[in-house]
Symmetry: C2
Subunit: 345 residues, 2 copies
């Protein structure tokens, strides 16, 4: 008895191939290929027969084989921190739209802010031979990407610069935005201003902290340690940080929140405090205009970041740009009330 199966591995449930279509249509393999790809040199009659066979068999070209042959996958990868974060949704969508306009699919993955996972994801995408990568870096050493870039994988970093390699990067002006936001508070009479932000190893967090410091310095105000809380974004610790700043004999009269998650929690805390405390947040938050007071924010345009990065990526793929560039997009201060509150004391 023959134990060997006709097909050793069941594969795609025995999908029809061009060969099958060719057999059914009574034409050559290459003719089917021509029809499928809309290449010229096929008589209408032959084309019709092939089309019928395709319909009848439910044939669908195997892009894996196509990729293997052609070398281009028409897909790009996007590695970001967390798709569930409202900041990244629009960014991802913007990248997708640009990709779509260039006929490419988007594969994306979340690094969960873990450098190891970022690398793992990026390399997995490279193994799929994506044509290009848009990366929002979690780590700060991207030398592992050098062979990939050398091999022709277009790469653009977004939101934070690459570490230890020279690559295109598109970011928001975190420094300027934070400085303006803090200056806004100062202009409204505040001096004791708290800062709650992420770990300074994250570029944007460091830049925003730098902006905070610069604005305070411009105003000639010495910053007290108790006003700063770094490396804190989870709700529990942000809450504690905010409450600490607001307690004691000499509390802050205003808070600058380093990103959208921090802002949201600070809003919660402030809603429970009986005296008015001013607030400016980095990143816009949904419904920020409907709160009372409305939340004044330094807004960055996530979609524009994504769009710019993706366009830059495809320009690389078209072989246009070669010199890595750093593109910085301006932020926008949106005043809604919370940042215009005067000091409470």
């Amino acid at each position: 008895m023959d134990r060997t199966a006709r097909r050793p591995d069941s594969r795609y449930g025995n999908r029809p191939t061009m060969k099958d279509v060719a057999a059914r249509a009574g034409v050559g393999l290459k003719t089917v290929s021509r029809v499928v790809n809309g290449e010229p040199g096929v008589t209408p009659d032959t084309e019709r027969r092939v089309q019928e066979a395709i319909e009848a068999l439910g044939f669908r070209r195997n892009d894996s084989a196509r990729v293997l042959r052609k070398g281009r996958t028409a897909s790009i990868g996007l590695v970001l921190e967390d798709l569930a974060d409202p900041f990244y949704g629009p960014l991802s969508r913007a990248v997708e739209e640009v990709a779509r306009a260039h006929g490419a699919l988007l594969i994306n993955g979340s690094s969960a802010e873990d450098p190891e996972r970022e690398q793992e994801l990026v390399l997995a995408l490279c193994a799929r031979r994506v044509d290009g990568l848009v990366v929002i870096p979690a780590g700060d050493d991207h030398r592992y990407l050098e062979p990939e870039i050398a091999a022709g994988v277009a790469t653009v970093f977004v939101d934070r610069p690459a570490g230890k390699i020279d690559a295109d990067v598109v970011l928001s002006d975190s420094f300027g935005g934070a400085r303006d936001g803090v200056a806004h508070l100062i202009a409204h009479g505040h001096r004791r201003i708290g800062f709650i932000g992420d770990q300074p190893r994250i570029h944007t967090a460091a830049e925003r902290l730098r902006g905070y410091r610069a604005a305070m310095e411009d105003a000639g105000t010495a910053i007290e340690d108790a006003w700063m809380s770094l490396g804190v974004t989870d709700p529990v610790r942000v809450r504690k940080a905010a409450e600490d700043m607001l307690a004691g004999p000499d509390p802050v009269t205003a808070i600058f929140a380093g990103n959208n998650r921090v802002t949201v929690t600070v809003v919660r805390v402030l809603s429970e405090v009986d005296r008015p405390v001013a607030l400016v947040g980095f990143d816009d938050i949904e419904l920020g205009d409907l709160l009372r007071p409305g939340v004044t924010v330094v807004a960055q345009d996530a979609a524009q970041l994504g769009r710019t990065a993706a366009e830059r990526l495809f320009r690389q793929l078209d072989g246009v740009s070669v010199v890595p560039e750093r593109i910085e997009l301006p932020t926008r201060l949106i005043t809604r009330g919370s940042g215009e509150l005067p000091p409470a004391d």
Copy 2:
């Protein structure tokens, strides 16, 4: 003179292949394959030599070729409406996590609520030979998927059922949720309750409308045409619809909003109205607890939807389940104030 290039198409910038690695390490091609895949039967010394060659050349296995040979891509597709919608971010992330746990990558695309684009995307994903598909359908006819499913592409629909084919589907209890939400308003004394929702051709919208009708009927209240606005989600038209309901001699005293986008706009409108109008929205909205009054919502768990669907998908891929099933997840009424306001008159 020879005009033909050494390599006709430049391809991946001449990436090293296993052959190159083998040559450099002085071993056979298959031995490299064994090392790369961690297969047994390679002496430590040989393995070391191969590893060194891999490092030196920056070799990365070409997964396209691997896929072609093995038949499984270890990737799944997710087609949703709009990644920028806060409802889909967590859903997508949940699917990704499950995929990751099964060693698969996630390719996702936005249909923009366009049936044609949905089909285009799905077929593109099938051409990539994704192992499975999670689809949030935009269209209502999915017979085009029949050959794919027959060919072994695992498929799960989420949020809305498939049209004209029998397939797994995971959804929220839109009918029950909407009925409960409206009943909640009725329990607080409302009778003239407006409904603003999406086009009834969308399953969830139809179900929510049905829930609204059922609750009203249970209360013995005849619905007036002026109370209902269907097929309306963009801010401008929602605003107009809400304003219309609130104007006139006999305005509604409460509004049931059919999804998160509608809710947000209705909140905006209500914040401009001088009398209190009750509101219950379908879908939770961020910061809904911080508004005054807090927004009472019928919440669905987007992440749980995604997780359930993805797990079901991988169960299909493991060949466990065969009979298409319909899984309905309960919704949860979250009372925060806006739904408990009494009628204004």
